[in-house]
Symmetry: D2
Subunit: 161 residues, 4 copies
């Protein structure tokens, strides 16, 4: 079973640059997380964007969709900023016969305390166990695209009916 990871940026990969007293999207933390998680799986990592998800455009989402559609893998884990993860999932949901799980983090993977490792663990399990479709793995849950929203006040994701 092969998993292709596609990284697009977001909080999960944020790094802090002291020189400018600001942080930006840094290198993807996926490989580091899989290594620490002792994941004995067949995978590769494709870096597509390095963006805050608020900066992801409709064009970016289209590019991501076209990339996955024309690519030959069956299972994808996408890392993505949390603010527009729901919107991207809805665009990807039109792709048939592929299993795509989006995840990300509310706190950067480089922090001592972060949800990134737990979330990537969830995504890796979900992409192996769910039937083809598009899902979000975050907030301790596996959501289907179109049935989830980010609750900004509570800073978590929740099911919508």
């Amino acid at each position: 079973m092969f998993i292709r990871f596609v990284t697009t940026g977001g909080t999960i990969d944020k790094i802090y640059f002291d020189a400018m007293s600001q942080f930006e999207v840094g290198d993807s933390q996926v490989k580091h997380i899989l290594t620490e998680g002792l994941a004995n799986i067949d995978y590769d990592i494709v870096s597509m964007f390095r963006k805050d998800s608020l900066d992801m455009t409709d064009d970016d989402r289209q590019k991501l969709k076209e990339y996955i559609e024309s690519d030959d893998a069956e299972r994808y884990v996408g890392t993505h900023g949390t603010d527009t993860m729901v919107a991207t999932a809805e665009v990807l949901a039109r792709i048939p016969n592929k299993t795509i799980v989006l995840t990300g983090a509310l706190s950067p993977a480089r922090f001592k305390t972060t949800d990134a490792v737990f979330n990537v663990g969830m995504a890796v399990a979900a992409v192996q166990t769910v039937k083809p479709g598009v899902y979000l793995a975050i907030s301790g849950q596996v959501f289907e695209a179109g049935k989830v929203r980010k609750n900004r006040e509570e800073n978590c994701f929740e099911k919508i009916s």
Copy 2:
């Protein structure tokens, strides 16, 4: 969706006691991992044993099986030592109509570098997405009970056919 965590000990919960220059099974790290993972789920944690899995007896496995059989939840995540996780899964596999995912760690959750967080994340996702049965979530994979072994030389779990 409610998840009941049942802890039995193992490396995942190992703690080091300097006074005796040895380590033992400490408090379960599951609550800490779920909190850090920002898991917004309905759950509780039952502490059943605090044993190295090499010290788990057939009686212990029977007790665990009877507890889950007679208990009212539908979904369980069990934390367990890696050395006999496979054997325990096979005993639990006789329980009908419940979803049980065992996980653990090769490196203690209290270490800086540990597979515990990733593995619990995998188990939480798996217990929500698989059909009733008994599974292992470890080494980056979700295995069915009876179709997995621990490869001691490689220090990982692998599918058997």
Copy 3:
């Protein structure tokens, strides 16, 4: 031996706010660092500012100087942003008969990889061992005020002769 910690902000205490995709100075990490360091010392912590050091004004430095001058402790550890730590040290150097050690971090204490813990450890040792005066404890060294500069290219502190 009593040590008074005075916190002024800086990278050491930076926290990330996902909601606004930015970070700000958060609660001081000094108490957390001393607890983890198993420091068995008599101390308290006074929070004076929560500023990036580029935002520290001459007025702020004057206030800090007056606070320490009129205060009754003999030994101080000040946490401070790295960009103007050298300037603040020079203002404080006019205070007689007190031992003051400034420290901070180039990477936030909340990061997995940070120089904050090491630096606070250095400051705590230095404030107990040096004679009265003002010092910087950072970059693995203990510098006297007036004989140190931040090398921005190398992102470290170095002695000037």
Copy 4:
């Protein structure tokens, strides 16, 4: 200013071997700690023993003393198990004209929560600021050899008068 680190084992370097469900003294963590602490200093690391300090013999202490006496550096930081650090310091105290600071940890450096980084930070600052002699840097304090004991009940070091 050059610092020679001499490692002898102890809790600071403990690692856990899952295969045997036990832990042993692993590679020294000093280089890792100095790198993370962004220590911009001239140093090297000599590995002398890999022992629990309860296993250090009088012969071992004599070897360590002879090594430092005949070696050409002026400043040493020694990492050492906490149980007999006090005894080793008293043997080394007979060496004239060298500055030697012993440190270690009550919790392994490889743990998420450890006093190792703080303690090595203290030792690095102390070895630069104290006059020649032998010291312990631990429990948030810098102690002179011969004036300190380990309080086993409280699991900390304290001054004796």
